[in-house]
């Protein structure tokens, strides 16, 4: 069974058609990178995958469950989808530890001791154990994003969605975030990543999707897409960013 199956997805904002006819299948443990010029609809696509944007048409299945069916319990389904934002969106009124543990504590009914242990484990994973009791405002951008990844992982999601996770970072902090994502990929996490980091996509992705003007123009292995792009638009885009 596909982890994510998207059929004929359409999304409009008013008269503006952002996604025109999207079909995607993401398999278990697959790492998919979505690239494309700004305004191509790639972030909107990712945001449709957990219903932050409501599709105008088409179907999205998460592990076989229909996301767009009104009978689906969206709050329960979202627990299976971790999301990392460009702007981190940490909760500034809570310590790093509370940011990470409030989900499992409130939604999974875990005890304070259990979530504390889980939180510490996750902070070790992202290399920030010493920041457990710090507030987000006292962290660098790279540290914030690593906490945001830990927070998403705390719900033990089946799939991780990344929306341009390094775009708001100073260049010297990009590496530390990409390293955490690479570790996750190596552990077998199913991941969909909207990114401008072509080097990362080449190295880590199983499949790269190139989007433009609301369509998937071309997709393939990193080698196919980066070294032998078939479509003119893909070629034009890559010649600008590589």
């Amino acid at each position: 069974m596909s982890m994510i199956e998207i059929n004929n997805l359409k999304k409009s904002f008013g008269k503006l058609e952002v996604l025109k006819d999207i079909n995607i299948d993401v398999q278990s443990q697959e790492v998919v990178c979505v690239i494309g010029p700004s305004g191509s609809g790639k972030s909107t696509l990712l945001r449709c995958m957990n219903l932050l944007e409501e599709p105008t048409g088409g179907d999205i299945f998460i592990e076989g469950d229909n996301l767009t069916d009104p009978k689906t319990n969206i709050n329960e389904l979202r627990q299976r989808l971790g999301m990392v934002f460009q702007q981190f969106n940490l909760f500034p009124h809570m310590s790093v530890m509370d940011n990470i543990t409030m989900g499992p504590k409130r939604l999974k009914g875990k005890s304070q001791a259990e979530v504390r242990e889980l939180g510490t484990k996750l902070l070790e994973k992202v290399g920030l154990v010493d920041k457990a009791d710090v507030y987000p405002d006292n962290l660098s951008g790279g540290q914030k994003q690593r906490v945001a990844i830990a927070r998403a992982l705390a719900m033990e999601p089946r799939i991780m969605l990344f929306d341009e996770p390094t775009s708001a970072l100073d260049p010297e902090m990009v590496g530390e975030v990409l390293q955490v994502m690479k570790d996750l990929a190596e552990e077998g996490m199913t991941m969909t990543i909207v990114t401008h980091e072509m080097g990362f996509a080449k190295e880590v992705a199983d499949r790269v999707i190139f989007m433009d003007e609301g369509y998937i123009v071309e997709q393939g292995t990193p080698d196919e897409l980066f070294n032998h792009p078939q479509n003119e638009r893909t070629q034009a885009f890559l010649s600008k960013v590589l």
């Binding site: 932050l52 709050n75 979202r78 999301m83 702007q87 909760f91 939604l107 507030y135």
Partner: protein
């Protein structure tokens, strides 16, 4: 010396009035905070009917003078409905409704001032809209709203003096009843002013302390 004697003689009555002023204010503001929060959340939902209810309430209450509202509730309503209100009840209703209308706007603006990424982050973890509002948005928004709340509280405290118009023996009417008998309006109104100032200044000090405390986190 004469002045102080006049004030001291009036003091027991004034303090009683001051107690009533505080009582009306506290009850009204607690109720108004609740109504303000509910209608404030109404005003930012995607449900048109709820938004319309909130807008209509705010526009009507803000668009009419408080004194008219007080008289309407105390004299107007009982004349057509089969109810009778004490001056205290009518006063609480009027101050509540009036303060609530302004608090709706404070809640709305405060909640809107929180980045929408916070709501999205809460929802993606798996929290419902209500849970995200309660656990993530409101704790941040309310901190920002404190100065505006205090401002409205102060206005409402002073507004209670209008309840003298329906015979509620709060601080202002207590003063009037004293100088109506002893003709020392200057001394008594001076004392009345000081007592209002004491209430309001205490509130200001408390809010400054609260803001400093919350700022640490």
């Amino acid at each position: 010396m004469e002045t102080i004697k006049i004030i001291l003689e009036g003091l027991p009555t004034l303090l009683k009035g001051m107690g009533l002023t505080i009582e009306v204010t506290v009850i009204s503001l607690i109720l108004a905070m609740f109504i303000g929060l509910v209608l404030g959340v109404f005003s930012i939902t995607k449900f048109k009917v709820l938004r319309a209810i909130s807008t209509a309430f705010v526009d009507i209450i803000r668009g009419t003078p408080l004194l008219v509202q007080i008289l309407f509730i105390y004299f107007g309503l009982p004349s057509v409905l089969d109810i009778s209100l004490t001056a205290f009840a009518a006063g609480v209703i009027a101050i509540t409704v009036n303060a609530a209308a302004y608090l709706v706007e404070i809640f709305r603006a405060g909640i809107n001032s929180i980045d929408k990424g916070q709501m999205e982050a809460g929802r993606t973890i798996g929290f419902s809209y209500g849970q995200t509002m309660r656990l993530i948005i409101l704790p941040q928004a309310i901190r920002r709203m404190i100065p505006a709340f205090v401002n409205q509280f102060i206005v409402s405290i002073k507004d209670t003096s209008l309840l003298s118009a329906i015979g509620l023996a709060e601080l202002t009417l207590s003063g009037q009843s004293i100088y109506a008998a002893n003709f020392h309006a200057f001394e008594i109104l001076f004392a009345v002013g000081i007592l209002y100032f004491v209430i309001i200044y205490s509130l200001s000090l408390f809010s400054r302390w609260l803001e400093r405390r919350l700022d640490v986190a």
